[in-house]
Symmetry: D2
Subunit: 200 residues, 4 copies
């Protein structure tokens, strides 16, 4: 059974409503329909320390999250847009994943090799493409694979102030990109699980 | 009298309608109301050669455009968004401006020092913040100054297909950012014309 | 036999030496060693028109390049860095690929689905990560897949002026990233050729 | 007397050595030589809460930092590069500054209007231009002005591992960009202090 872990990077702690959590849940529902096991961390609820080591010690919540990521075939990042950019929580997640460049299996492969990345981005106004660019670049650096069209997103018109969580239902186009994200991530995760990248 | 030159970076040659030209014209109208002299180049109509020299020789249209830019106190770049990014025409303009790093006055200052930059960005969907980031970084590198809030923009909702030129009138928020852009560019251009940066 | 097409995005026409062409040739040599068929276009030598259609008519050189790209399993983009960003030629290539969003097979899949993307970036100083972010975002948008660690690059120290083509041999780290790029692109291209993404 | 506040965005708490702190101190020394009053916050040492309000309540360290920023004419951001991008601490600072869009003086101007921004960026390898783009875009959004050439930086060769703090002395080119940053920020801060932007 394919396992999918979502890291939700809203700035707002639980239990407040969150657009990026909502979109992540919609994506996970798509994965669950296909028979996947899913889990979700709202990262700001956990004490993830700043740094670029896999364990920053002393109360660091990352090692537990990391264990779940490493046990999954698909990593879904979900982030809000602030000032046209990813959230600081999302940036912290990427920094912690940077530590994976030092972690290899017996054949010299990164532990992240073979995992695929999906992305959900949501904001009042623009930023989705720029956030996609930076998140995928960082995840590609640390060994994850990006399936074709592996991002779903929504944003309002320029200088808009509507939240995704306050829309009447899921916009048709976002529903479409969510469906494609799920299908393509799963397809590629299955292929790479059966047939991993060669040792380098 | 303050002189403003707009470089419109649509991919579409004249005489077709262009959203980025329309927004540039609206900004220039704001400058004209304040008593500025304005001019506009639709860059794709001119044979601007690839390269990073001030004159790429043999039919290169850049030297004439460059002369106008150097004779102006304000440079307005206007670009459409494609795939969340600036147009290739806009990128070419930046590359040609890169040559200014080698051009200095008698006191060792860049010829661009003292000029201020404004920006207009328009697209069906997101990209305005990312385009702003890259255009302003490049212009700052080559010696232009960015006044506070020196960008006006419009984009539609995620995966939208409406063009700015087909809207019913100017959206109120875009009208507001255009007004601020004009006021702040003019204010700073006047200050720097009277009191230039020191030689370095 | 896997086919690899490289689009070299230097600003400099042939026959002048080009760092981005050199790095592309080194990557293609890696593919050839693995038994691939390779071809290379130095895009600036061809009259690729501005626009976002698959054929801009009247002397447009893109349709011939596009035919080669569509006949290949791997697309390698190679670009120089100018002002920390990709070249305008590279941006034009991405814009022309944007047209692929309208082209689908009998089952509704993009013609680009199943193709994988590799990237080579080279500059005097910094920009490789930012260029990777933007190129991969655009290619992912239009249906290409990014294998893990699918980029090779070189740049000098801050404000450096050394060209890659003038180095004494290939830096060891760049040789390493080139090798990984080739291995991972080939592995994934083979998997996707045998087992394509599902129709959406 | 002009006041300059530096926000150092290293991921590493005091008292460990930090390259981004070192570069910030070098820039501040330049300002002090010109007679400025300077202060520095190593942000990670303070409990700056996630969020986009000026005060996130309950132990939030931002209000004290914000007070110092608002009392200064020049804001210097100094950030390390991780994965080609700014640090998560830097991103958090930008998010907190986003609150300034709601804060205006009696004439309707942002409290940040008239302040100028300088930037210091440092990393083992590339990212300085991309970080500059994003930080300046965000600061411009919230009302700060970017003087020409307002950034100083250093990075090593591609995939390098040398830290700025371990270099033998300050590289000549970085010393030069630091000097220009100081001169241009001071010049513009003086002009804007005497002659503020008009109300909008």
């Amino acid at each position: 059974m394919t396992s999918v872990t979502a890291l939700v990077c809203t700035l707002t702690p639980s239990p407040a409503a969150s657009s990026s959590q909502l979109l992540a849940e919609q994506v996970l529902a798509g994965f669950a329909e296909k028979g996947c096991e899913t889990s979700l961390f709202r990262v700001v609820d956990h004490d993830v320390k700043p740094g670029v080591q896999k364990d920053m010690g002393d109360g660091d919540a990352w090692p537990a999250i990391r264990a779940r990521v490493l046990a999954s075939e698909v990593l879904l990042i979900s982030t809000p847009i602030w000032m046209g950019q990813m959230s600081s929580v999302c940036k912290r997640v990427l920094e912690r994943l940077d530590a994976e460049l030092s972690e290899k299996d017996d054949e010299g492969r990164l532990l992240t090799y073979g995992k695929v990345a999906g992305l959900a981005v949501v904001g009042n106004e623009d930023g989705a493409h720029a956030v996609t660019a930076e998140v995928f670049q960082a995840l590609n650096d640390v060994g994850l694979t990006q399936p074709a069209a592996a991002v779903t997103y929504w944003h309002g018109e320029a200088m808009g102030s509507t939240d995704y969580k306050d829309l009447d239902g899921v916009p048709e186009k976002t529903a479409g990109t969510t469906k494609t994200l799920v299908a393509n991530c799963l397809h590629l995760a299955d292929l790479l699980a059966k047939d991993p990248y060669p040792p380098s």
